[in-house]
Symmetry: C2
Subunit: 332 residues, 2 copies
DNA sequence: AAAACAAATGTAACCGGTTACATTTCCATC
DNA sequence: GATGGAAATGTAACCGGTTACATTTGTTTT
């Protein structure tokens, strides 16, 4: 492979001059610049970026820890990350962690071993050990989407509690009083916040909480399908179900219709995320639209700020209720 | 940051001994090994992998060029890539190209600039220029899923022609004779092969080809929705539609039902890919199951073979027709 | 006890850039 | 033409590992 020394020899100058010609062309004379560029061209020289990175101790790679890439919402977030990173000259090292903490820790250590400059964590878990970095210096990490309560780094999130409250209020406004909820994994702060919002709406409307109406899921269509099965088997069946993700809502609708019930006539269903399929389900799904790509873009922008030593503030992104045909007035 | 020299000093040995202790422990004496490991521990030493990579000229990163990560099928392929790469100690640099050739070329050049060791291309396009590598030496690339006819590298694919023929024959066996097809982008070899299979089945059954039944799409639900609109507006409406992807099939079903027609009673719909939502659509979708994760895993395995200088053969993966409720006998 | 050889360890070059510092070149000024 | 100072270029150290080769230490053989 041609290296900078070959080019220098070819151009009849020193390696320093070649380096300068490429990095700060303005400080070499036009004559020399010409000569060097011609040699670069002739030799087909491309700098070995590994050497550049090694020297500068920057990799321009970001690690992204995603619970599961197979989830449509995360796929959109990653698209946003990818685009923003690309624009700024960063690469994206993707890690599909499946919630495996050991794997997250291992990938995060790419930063300690200088294979990446920072981490974007899309899950509520800190993959860095206590002493991974000198105390006082900011962690090169951004926590987005599902964030830790006491995140050791800047966060980008959505007001899940308010959003869940708004969906629930929408259902209550339609006359529903028995509203089931298909939740996310038990320990997730995201699930806790959304449940809080759900309860806020209920108590504001004077509806007592019935624990039997709360079913855990794991954000997959299958778990929504199974949870719906439990809910429709209840003696007092809910007339509406709020699902913490569209994927679960789609699974739930499938099970509801399999049981010979209609959506929304017999049971209203609402989701969360507004994935592409939400518009194409039967019926189209009422849901909370999240700016998924923006999560990704903002996380990248913030991480780069951190990497460059600047101060950044936490960010709260907007959501909006999208009312489609899967929710309708409660029929007594 | 602690480096190997600090450790050497701490242990009272040379840097070479430290390096050897970590790379080939068996060639240093147990006493020294002990001493060095203690020093490594005490100093909290982690090798700077950037230096290791620089020295060895291997990055252990693979570039993955994916047309769009927002597509559920590709998300699964990437999961497979990710897992296999992780197991073998490789990282994955993801590039969501949106079919942008300039971007693909740019990302592929990460290999020339030594920021990655090889490329997995999931689209029918060669991102390397003629002279990117010395003639004769094999391209560090695998072309998977949608492959070039004259790929300059090993390929992993599925017999799209045979699979499309099988779906079409399934529809013909149900009595359908006017079978619409919602295709992929015009120039894709994948689309061409699937259309061939469709035509094979038609001509074997003595059904003449009607060009009006062929609608192009782009694999998104929206394009399926729009194509279905065209098809159901035809004077002689098809009684079945074969879609080249499940995403388009879901969009198509949505439009069909919006028009007041039923699936499968009025129009049968078949897809391709068997994404997670295919089981949960209403009705559940008849489709061709592709081993998406296997595509990814095999591509990684093959690429590493190539990188290590071994010979590899092209691979053809199996498919299977999954018959669900979206296809039924044609009613005259 | 000396010779012969293996095992363990040390020394220093090397990978390919970047850049501080040294040196040379060039032009303006007196 | 000598002097000063800026501009252009060159020299070589450096980043942090790896490894060929040299050297030392230890063990076996005669």
């Amino acid at each position: 492979m041609t290296n900078i020394r070959k080019v220098a020899e070819l151009a009849g100058v020193s390696v320093a001059t070649v380096s300068r010609t490429l990095k700060s062309p303005d400080i070499v004379s036009p004559t020399t610049r010409e000569k060097v560029l011609r040699a670069v061209d002739q030799a087909g020289y491309k700098p070995n970026l590994m050497a550049v990175q090694f020297r500068s101790q920057r990799t321009y790679n970001l690690v992204v820890l995603v619970p599961t890439i197979a989830n449509t919402f995360f796929a959109r977030v990653i698209s946003g990350i990818q685009e923003a990173a690309q624009e700024r000259g960063y690469g994206v090292l993707l890690c599909n962690t499946l919630g495996n903490e050991a794997m997250e820790t291992q990938y995060a250590s790419l930063v300690s071993t200088r294979q990446a400059d920072g981490v974007i964590q899309l899950r509520a878990f800190n993959p860095f050990s206590e002493n991974a970095f000198p105390a006082g210096s900011p962690l090169p990490m951004i926590n987005a989407c599902e964030v830790l309560d006491d995140a050791p780094c800047p966060t980008v999130k959505l007001d899940n509690r308010a959003a869940a409250r708004e969906v629930t209020e929408h259902l209550i406004a339609l006359g529903h009083r028995r509203i089931g909820m298909i939740k996310g994994p038990r320990r997730s702060p995201l699930t806790r916040d959304r449940q809080q919002g759900y309860q806020d709406a209920l108590s504001a409307a004077g509806i007592p909480l019935d624990e039997r109406l709360l079913c855990p899921g794991d954000f997959t269509p299958l778990s929504g399908y199974q949870a719906a099965e439990t809910l429709i088997a209840l003696a007092e069946r809910p007339s509406a179900i709020f699902c913490e993700s569209d994927e679960m809502a789609i699974g739930a609708m499938s099970r509801i219709k399999e049981a010979g019930l209609r959506v929304p006539e017999d049971i209203s269903v609402a989701g969360f995320d507004d994935i592409a399929f939400a518009s194409y389900s039967d019926p189209p799904l009422t849901t909370i639209a999240q700016p998924a790509e923006t999560f990704g873009r903002e996380a990248v922008a913030m991480l780069i700020e951190v990497l460059e030593g600047r101060q950044v503030n936490n960010l709260m992104l907007p959501y909006s209720l999208v009312s489609r045909k899967s929710t309708a007035a409660c029929r007594p």
